[in-house]
Amino acid sequence: MGAGHAHRLYRHGHSPVHRLPPHCKLAAVLCFVVVVVSTPREAMWAFALYAVLLGAVAGVARIPAGFLLKRMLIEVPFVAFAVLMPFVAQGERVEVMGVSLSVSGLWGAWNVLAKGTLGVAASVILASTTELRELLLGLQRLKLPPLLVQIASFMIRYGDVITDEMRRMRIARESRGFDSRGIRQWGVLGKSAGALFIRSYERGERVHLAMMSRGYAGSMPVIDEVTASRAQWARALALPLSALAVCLLGWTL
């Protein structure tokens, strides 16, 4: 879908992973995360195997490791939370280099870190191989309520229009000598926000007229039918199925 709405996480490419239908990829990531979360935390080797699986997918998608790691930084706040756990948790304690740590806290931290990291990595791989527009089509295909998908599509289309309107209003304010610092100016900002709301509302009405004029009668017409063949489903589900095998081993061993 060309140079469309490439978001910052997206990495343009033509790999087999890029070419998979979006709803297969969404379903695969969802299943993978469910499997990872239900793995017992004591089976540490299983998490290593999951990481290897994701590494293989990233390799097929030709995403460089550096790109992937940089985009996984959104996870940092959760890491901080995990690091605190061994210090604050109650119960049996162990000494590590002279510091007393809680055993259950250590396991808890490991649990959050391992599962969280794998989930984030899987999502980043999905986002770097799927455009926003495709993700929406995928969600629509997976039977998310159509209204939600429509709202999300309009946010993509009009996000820039509204940001641009906001910028023009700011320039207009500033050219009349307005300085937005200081609490006394908040009234002016509030009025601008109100004006922006009214403008957006009126635009909404005009867009609705334009839609009705072209035959809109309450539901979006189907323009792109995203379909997946059996082979495509099989390829997408290879990831969660291998993970499931690992998970079952983790429970039985």
């Binding site: 879908m1 289309r157 004029s213 072209r214 017409p221 323009i223």
Partner: protein, 252 residues
């Protein structure tokens, strides 16, 4: 269809907004198939109100609108909206889908077209306005003139009986204005062009109507109407400084 049926036939159309403001007081007009007609009038004359009646967005208080023989009524609304293609003033209102292709496909898809037929329709409409290579772009990455052309394509894709343009030349630079004129002239479709850009009307439309205070006050060859200084002045239609309609050759 019978060749003598007019593309558009409006008779005795009156309308008051719900707040009581009467905007149209009995409008009569007939536009034949293949004609290009300008609808001139000052701000607030009721031009946009009239346009919204042509595809049944607003419902006449009294009077009737007929498009190629089919009356505008609730039971024919889907067919009427396919036959009447309205290009609104602001292309950002008209282009509401995330990509040019999906936007142009919207109308035909809403009327049930799918697959390769739909693709062919999109390709043809974009070709007609010279925007075929922008098919996968998001509309907000296009220039204003290009967006206006895509807006025309979204309507052409529905293969309308009549194309209605609300202020098509507003905000266009001279080059985009000329390109749009060339595109509109190349189309084989009835055109109603709402404007107060008088030179553009003269260039594009052999015939013009003047709407003022909710009624049609004049109907005739555009050049003749523009030369009637009394008429123009009475209805707040001013020619740009230095523009002389007598000096323009419109027979091309």
């Amino acid at each position: 269809m019978d060749a003598v049926t007019a593309s558009l036939d409006v008779s005795g159309l009156a309308y008051a907004y719900p707040d009581g403001h009467q905007a149209l007081f009995g409008v009569d007009l007939v536009i034949g198939r293949g004609e290009r007609v300008a609808l001139l009038g000052p701000n607030g004359a009721g031009k946009t109100t009239l346009v919204l009646h042509l595809n049944g967005i607003l419902t006449a208080g009294s009077g009737s609108v007929t498009v190629a023989g089919l009356p505008v009524a609730r039971e024919h609304l889907a067919e009427i909206r396919r036959r009447v293609g309205i290009v609104f003033q602001d292309p950002d209102d008209q282009l509401f889908m995330p990509s040019v292709r999906e936007d142009v496909a919207f109308g035909p898809a809403a009327s049930g077209l799918r697959g390769p037929e739909l693709e062919a329709r999109v390709e043809k409409a974009l070709g007609q306005v010279g925007m075929a290579e922008y098919v996968d772009r998001p509309p907000h990455h296009l220039s204003f003139g290009q967006r206006r052309r895509v807006a025309v394509a979204t309507v052409l894709a529905m293969e309308p009986e009549i194309l209605v343009l609300d202020e098509p030349s507003s905000n266009l630079d001279p080059a985009s204005r000329r390109e749009l004129a060339e595109i509109l002239r190349s189309l084989d479709v009835t055109v109603l062009m709402v404007t107060h850009d008088l030179p553009y009307a003269l260039e594009m439309c052999p015939r013009a109507l003047v709407l003022s205070e909710g009624v049609i006050v004049a109907d005739g060859p555009t050049a003749e109407l523009l030369c009637d200084e009394g008429l123009m002045r009475a209805h707040r239609l001013e020619l740009p400084f230095g523009f002389d309609p007598r000096s323009v050759d419109t027979r091309s």
